[in-house]
Symmetry: C2
């Protein structure tokens, strides 16, 4: 695997350089803190302080707080795939879901396939677990089934890691047929899938197709191969480190035992507060505001790219999430542009950090999540002075 | 390793049986929820809601919240071993410290030595990591250096796991000479030590000797072999899942990378709240109350054992912590007493759950932490009818 912690660290280095410089940053992978529903969350905590606080301070169930698990089950249920709360294990963000699934499913030397590009902190887990990583080609409609099948004929992986809805960094949205085809391939070639879904609720104009968790109900044999992980990091707040994992039924006990060994269970006062927050309707009330804000910023970034960069950068406008994935036309290395970008005080992350194998060096990631519209337009305008003509 | 998750699960089964029965339970490993300083903690959270809440909701440093790390550094510092905040990594309770150290230090097949008896959820981690466990004989003054050295001559372990102050379950307190001798042996035989110290502040009449972390400063070569882990679970509240790890300097980056892969960082609002809680003096004000309450209960349990069980049970009264470790005189199997105990509605945990290898089946653990004095006296009186004459 070409990934290394130093390579993954480039994101932190660019983001902190941007903070110090005080320029326009498209570099972070963070949600906009101005969109945190802080008052309503404080009110939810205060509801807990009045009722349930002492229970939340004690050791609790290893799987998490039952009422929150029920809310998560509701959130993840569809008509064709109802989720029972007993299937839900609360985790410290989606990251712990990825790490737990990797521990349960993989042994050193196993092969893992991912989208190319993919989420670096997942690569970090696979790297630490001693796995061999391979990227599968994707376009704006997700992983290319033909590319996956060609890779499967050469190498059977233990695991496929995927973010089918508005991935970090590609912002891609897997189409329904591709979702179903990948599930069929999982059965045919006998591998597991981690479906990482932190952005699925952050759609702009229309919801994404059903999750792999849900669609697995249509594909015989697939349900035993899908582990769904997600979190409230992008919809409520990442600092709460509250997410979940829904493993296949046959692996549930192994997930619970692994989670127990890791940290007994996740912190409870935040689980209680999130339950109250959802219960008093704040989650459903606030989510449209996040969607509208990110959607507006994505459209602004797309418009600015068309105006200032159309002849020099290719990209597909995302239909949800937080990221634009761009490619310098005519090739070149996005890392070579960073000195000029720093002089213009505008920041992005070069694509090199996002690949399990050989990277496409012409790519780079731009987050529109944390910059208001005027800043986005000005930042892209500056990039017009940074990126050379093709 | 004889340990299995099913064996470790006996503690949960007895504790939940006790809850359902409504009897007198010495079975739990929980702190007394009536001793949670809930009002002051809620006030600390509310201080965060007024100042710092939005920052606590965002992603933060992988090592944890700097102000809390500074408080932990102060808590762990001694004159001979000052701790810098940069050495401290916040973890989800001491458990994550044990798990992280095991991931960083060990490979499947490595040998780990522990006290016999020892903490079952640590055994759970070692079992999952594929380690070979071996228990070292102990008495009320801690691990027997001669027994350790004899074992070291037969087998070099990668790791020694120890709870030198008021361990769960033995309640033992390692003497200063034994602490120093074990550190010398770590250097001589080249193994690492996880010092797990969740109970060190819960002393009754006098503080324990310095931690291994501190004493390592006196033993050339020892500092690079001690990983100190602890938590606020027994002094503030376990539901907050907030603890820490202080690894050797040369391993710090590996610990941070492993923690990053596990869950990016620990939840922040609770770290902010604990910082405010300590900052407004509540921690120092409340701790003596916990010490006094547990101390009173330990003395009551000791008195009751002397009155009702002296001829049938041997035990050394603990000088801190939450547990009495007892042994039925003349042998026998504590598990055989559980049906009679259930009829008398009094509950304890048989010792079989606490050994990495062959258990001493005559032993059992009694927690005095959650039962007021009258209940303790009555519970031990009932045990007098349960435990047969030697």
């Amino acid at each position: 695997m070409d990934y290394s912690p130093e390579l993954g660290g480039i994101i932190y280095r660019v983001a902190s350089l941007a903070r110090r410089t005080g320029g326009i940053s498209f570099a972070g992978g963070y949600p906009d803190p101005d969109l945190f529903d802080a008052d309503a969350l404080a009110a939810a905590y205060n509801q807990v302080f009045r009722d349930g606080f002492r229970a939340s301070l004690q050791y609790g169930d290893r799987e998490g707080y039952r009422r929150l698990r029920e809310r998560i089950a509701t959130l993840c249920s569809t008509a064709e795939r109802p989720v029972d709360y007993q299937e839900v294990i609360v985790a410290n963000g989606g990251q712990q879901g990825i790490a737990t699934a990797t521990t349960v499913l993989c042994r050193p030397g196993d092969h893992v396939f991912t989208e190319a590009p993919t989420f670096p902190t997942a690569l970090h887990v696979f790297h630490q677990a001693g796995l061999k990583g391979q990227g599968i080609a994707c376009d704006a409609d997700g992983m290319l089934p033909d590319a996956l099948e060609a890779a499967l004929r050469r190498q059977r992986p233990r695991l496929l890691y995927a973010v089918p809805s508005y991935s970090n960094p590609a912002g891609a949205l897997w189409s329904l047929p591709r979702r179903l085809r990948v599930l069929e391939l999982a059965v045919e070639y006998d591998f597991h899938i981690i479906e990482d879904d932190p952005y699925g609720l952050l759609w702009f104009d229309a919801p994404p197709p059903p999750t792999l968790l849900s669609l697995a109900a249509r594909v015989p044999g697939a349900a035993e191969r899908v582990t769904h992980v997600s979190s409230f990091s992008k919809t409520i707040a990442p600092g709460l480190r509250t997410g979940w994992m829904i493993p296949p039924a046959s692996l549930r006990d192994q997930f619970v035992h692994t989670k127990l060994g890791t940290d007994i269970h996740s912190a409870l006062p935040s689980q209680y507060a999130i339950d109250r927050y959802i219960g008093q309707g704040d989650f459903d009330r606030h989510l449209p505001k996040i969607r509208a804000t990110y959607g507006e910023r994505a459209r602004a970034m797309h418009g600015a790219i068309l105006e200032h960069l159309a002849d020099r950068v290719e990209c597909a406008p995302p239909r949800g999430g937080m990221f634009f994935w761009c490619k310098v036309r005519g090739g070149g290395d996005a890392q070579d542009l960073m000195a000029a970008a720093e002089r213009e005080k505008v920041f992005f992350v070069p694509g090199v950090a996002f690949y399990p194998g050989a990277p496409d060096r012409a790519t780079f990631r731009m987050s529109f999540a944390t910059t208001p519209v005027e800043g986005i337009v000005e930042g892209v305008r500056r990039l017009g002075r940074v990126i050379p003509d093709a």
